[in-house]
Subunit: 206 residues, 2 copies
């Protein structure tokens, strides 16, 4: 049945474009918004519009930023010889939260995915190659997801960066800290055996 209100229909249609949101959930969201005061909904609407209209990307690492140069790229304490390549800002946040990395980042804005029509030209690959071409970079760490798309992108970048006189590495894959062996999938366990390394004492995060 068509809805009794074109306004409601339009709002539900738009909310249902959000990732993971079906029409039933979109309707629940629309009714929730209707129960709020007008200024509150205007703030919601404005925050979304301004995000897209006024967003700034760091001219160095392409991360979402408020400044032409983001806080990480502008920080003189970071190791400027090291670039960690990630998919999006969530990965930057996740890695920063480990407090294990003191280099710079490069945010691709996605991974190569022919199924979704995403090729290298849709990502910030050109900017990465420009950065490494300017010199001063000793190592590029590929920190992309352990998926088909992530692996494809890592392979592509590895080939592009080969011969640029820098080391290309990728983050380790293996069993999770605190994980039991019988809980680990076969691919990961197989990989962790193939990638075994000489014994050393680890700090245990558990």
């Amino acid at each position: 049945m068509a809805l009794s209100s074109a306004l409601l229909e339009a709002a539900v249609d738009q909310l249902a474009t959000l990732p993971g949101i079906g029409r039933r959930t979109a309707m629940r969201m629309a009714l929730d918004l209707l129960r709020r005061e007008v200024p509150e909904v205007v703030r919601f609407s404005e925050a979304v519009r301004r995000l897209r209209e006024e967003v700034v990307y760091c001219s160095e690492c392409c991360n979402i930023s408020d400044q032409p140069l983001c806080a990480i790229c502008a920080d003189p304490r970071r190791d400027r010889t090291l670039i960690c390549v990630v998919e999006d800002i969530r990965d930057v946040i996740a890695i920063e939260n480990t407090h294990q990395y003191k280099g710079l980042y490069h945010v691709l804005g996605g991974v190569i995915s022919p199924m979704d029509g995403v090729g290298p030209d849709d990502l910030h690959v050109k900017e990465l190659l420009e950065r490494t071409a300017r010199g001063g970079i000793q190592e590029v760490v590929l920190a992309l997801g352990a998926t088909l798309e992530g692996d494809t992108t890592s392979f592509f970048l590895h080939r592009k960066l080969a011969g640029a006189g820098l080391q290309v590495s990728m983050i380790a894959r293996g069993i999770s800290v605190g994980g039991d062996l019988d809980q680990v999938d076969e691919m990961t366990l197989g990989r962790s055996i193939a990638d075994r390394k000489p014994y050393q004492q680890h700090a245990h995060a558990g």
Copy 2:
């Protein structure tokens, strides 16, 4: 860790106010919106703002509408002696989809819920009592959810409507059509036994 962009932070904060959406999902939504073209995001933002700013409620049944009188209330083929009381527009749509009901509706806009600070004055109860007081109504069907809040609201409305010279009924509770007895919870099964009625041939929807 704080986000590198106040714009992103604001948008994530707002998206996380939607029902059932946490900050992680809100971030995924914000990044999805950032990947879209500007006019597309403006349409999204406008649809939400206009929904709240320009919404019209039917002067009779309080349903969300585009007209001062909604399509159902304006339809001369509907039985005007019968009012079905529901929580919100989703219930109107659900009942309309059954094609079993030809009367009018009254949309309360919620149910009484002291836990959430929702009392009778926050609902369209006054409008319902005004409608029944104008006469011409023979039956009010309470079609609220089978929850504590729904039952409380039904009880409250039943008392308010008692003595108004009309019949107050409520929709049947029992086992689902197509349902096996051993799948039904004890409350529902007990209720369906207590509410048993003389045998009659049913159309089977399964």
